[in-house]
């Protein structure tokens, strides 16, 4: 079968889409397992978002060393080169076609033309997209000076351009906090960080940045409007109550020339939806089994396309896992399991992946709570699993190892819950 006879055809066991940490780790592992692999990324360089994340905090688990984003990316890239993995940058994937379980075609454009790649399996590691101003309900003038955190970060830390001088940041997750520090270090005035929730969204060490630079944090507040002529001039902030409803009469205008939106990431899964991959509304990413295979056989997923991760270490781990799944899939012509045990969300669990476990192997569950709590126990009643945790926060992904024998104790499902100890 030759879908587009006029386009040059390449053939591999597996195509990895996305050259971030998930994709690089996946491609390296697949190659180590003896598969022929092609890695594609639309950027001009490998690394995904890491080369622009110049702060440290990467790799404490995976490399047992604290690295900056570019350093972490360079280590993975070196491993790729040493293993002789084939990769192409400036290669943008347009479409994935699923002809049958072991027949996929990936179509990409590159400076040397359009290509189609025939592969037995695909590992999708295209990362996430950022939520933008309209998505979070900000109205007002169409002015310049509104950036997502990633755009501002790329301007500053790749191109060396300071996007503005008086900045309001929306969102107190790690990304927002790290951007607050970058702006402050570069001599811009960070007028405020605005957070919708009654607690900061980021890790404690990043919340400390605000104290370092005397940056005010407005909890239970939201930016609702932007005004300006040509460029942002002021933004309107209102207080919200515990149900996130605006408090009448609480308006406050902040003068600023720049608004940075750091309101979270959403897995970039449009291309997967097109081929019928089932999406979990809680993660925004695909529903997967314990090999990180989606509901379309032979399509695997890892990293921020699977679930938004706060630690790159888990991202790389997922990449390797997906590669191991791919190997099993190709060797056996599919991933079989006598029965799948469904993982369900109990009290205070907002999301959990993977969704289905075979009980044939040890797995890591990745989960996030819905709200912060202290002195809790993470429980899986069906198998009598209990784990004490001093604090849980929505910002911090919890990783829980389950042994195959433990999983087998469950009959049809496992319920993960976080309750007061």
């Amino acid at each position: 079968m030759e879908p587009f006879p006029e386009i040059p055809m390449l053939g591999y066991d597996v195509v990895v889409i996305g050259g971030g940490p998930a994709g690089m780790a996946a491609a390296a592992r697949a190659k180590e397992l003896g598969l022929s692999v092609l890695l594609l990324d639309e950027n001009d360089y490998l690394g995904g978002i890491l080369p622009q994340c110049i702060h440290s905090g990467f790799g404490i688990h995976y490399f047992k060393e604290e690295l900056t984003g570019p350093e972490f990316a360079a280590r993975l890239a070196k491993r790729l080169v040493e293993l002789g993995v084939e990769y192409r940058t400036a290669a943008r994937v347009l479409e994935i076609r699923n002809y049958s379980d072991l027949e996929k075609v990936v179509i990409f454009t590159s400076p040397s033309g359009v290509y189609q790649v025939w592969a037995k399996a695909v590992i999708y590691a295209a990362g996430a997209r950022e939520r933008h101003a309209f998505e979070i309900g900000i109205v007002g003038d169409r002015v310049s000076g509104i950036y997502t955190a990633g755009e501002a970060q790329t301007l500053m830390d790749i191109y060396g351009v300071l996007p503005g001088k008086e900045v309001v940041i929306v969102g107190s997750g790690d990304v927002g906090l790290i951007m607050a520090r970058r702006f402050a270090l570069e001599g811009a005035k960070v007028k405020a960080v605005i957070e919708l929730m009654p607690y900061p969204g980021g890790l404690a060490r990043n919340v400390m940045i605000l104290k370092d630079f005397n940056i005010p944090l407005y909890l239970s507040h939201k930016v609702v409007e932007v005004r300006g002529k040509g460029r942002v001039q002021r933004v309107k902030v209102v207080k919200v109550d515990e149900n996130i409803n605006e408090v009448p009469g609480s308006e406050l205008w902040i003068e600023a020339d720049t608004l940075v939106i750091s309101a979270g990431l959403v897995p970039a899964v449009k291309k997967l939806k097109k081929i019928g991959v089932e999406i979990d509304p809680a993660t925004g990413g695909p529903v997967v089994n314990d090999r990180l295979e989606t509901t379309v056989p032979g399509i695997f997923v890892a990293g921020n396309s699977l679930v938004i991760n706060d630690l790159v270490d888990y991202v790389a781990e997922q990449g390797e896992l997906a590669a191991e799944g791919t190997k099993e899939f190709i060797d056996n012509g599919g991933i079989e399991s006598r029965k799948w045990i469904k993982v369900e969300k109990g009290s205070n669990v907002r999301l959990v992946v993977p969704h289905y476990l075979s009980g044939e192997r040890d797995v890591y569950l990745y989960l996030r709570v819905a709200r912060p709590m202290e002195d809790v126990e993470l429980r899986i009643p069906e198998i009598g699993k209990r784990l004490k945790l001093p604090v849980v926060k929505p910002a911090e992904m919890i990783r829980l190892k389950l042994k195959a024998e433990e999983i087998q104790k469950a009959n049809k499902k496992l319920t993960v819950e976080v309750v007061k100890a």
């Binding site: 110049i54 790749i158 104290k211």
Partner: protein
């Protein structure tokens, strides 16, 4: 006497630490779970330091900047001065990750990206 309260950032346990200081002397540290946290808390009130990351322009590289970090933590109050210094430097490609691209008051500025 002044009491400083903060969250320990040395490990993910995030202990709430209190440090009591009088006339520049640390009287008591409470709330830490381990000696590393105590040591960090004392330094945090007496002489806070940070590793500083930034970018400097690079000529002839694949990207217009190269990211850098200080090889050791810098006293917090000296950071603006360091940033001024960094704003004044420019490097030439090729730069390898780990190269020392400049030195400031005896502190090495190390490239964290290649260029």
């Amino acid at each position: 006497m002044t009491t400083y309260r903060f969250i320990c950032i040395v490990c993910p346990l995030s202990c709430a630490i209190e440090v009591e200081v009088k006339d520049g002397k640390v009287l008591e540290v409470k709330g830490h779970t381990c000696p590393r946290g105590k040591e960090w808390a004392v330094q945090e009130v007496t002489n806070p330091r940070r590793v500083v990351m930034s970018v400097v322009p690079v000529e002839g590289g694949a990207l217009p900047t190269v990211s850098v970090k200080t090889a050791e933590p810098v006293p917090k109050e000296k950071i603006p001065e360091l940033m001024k210094f960094l704003a004044g430097i420019k490097v030439k490609a090729p730069v390898k990750i780990g190269d020392v691209v400049a030195e400031w008051e005896g502190i090495k500025i190390v490239a964290t990206r290649g260029a």
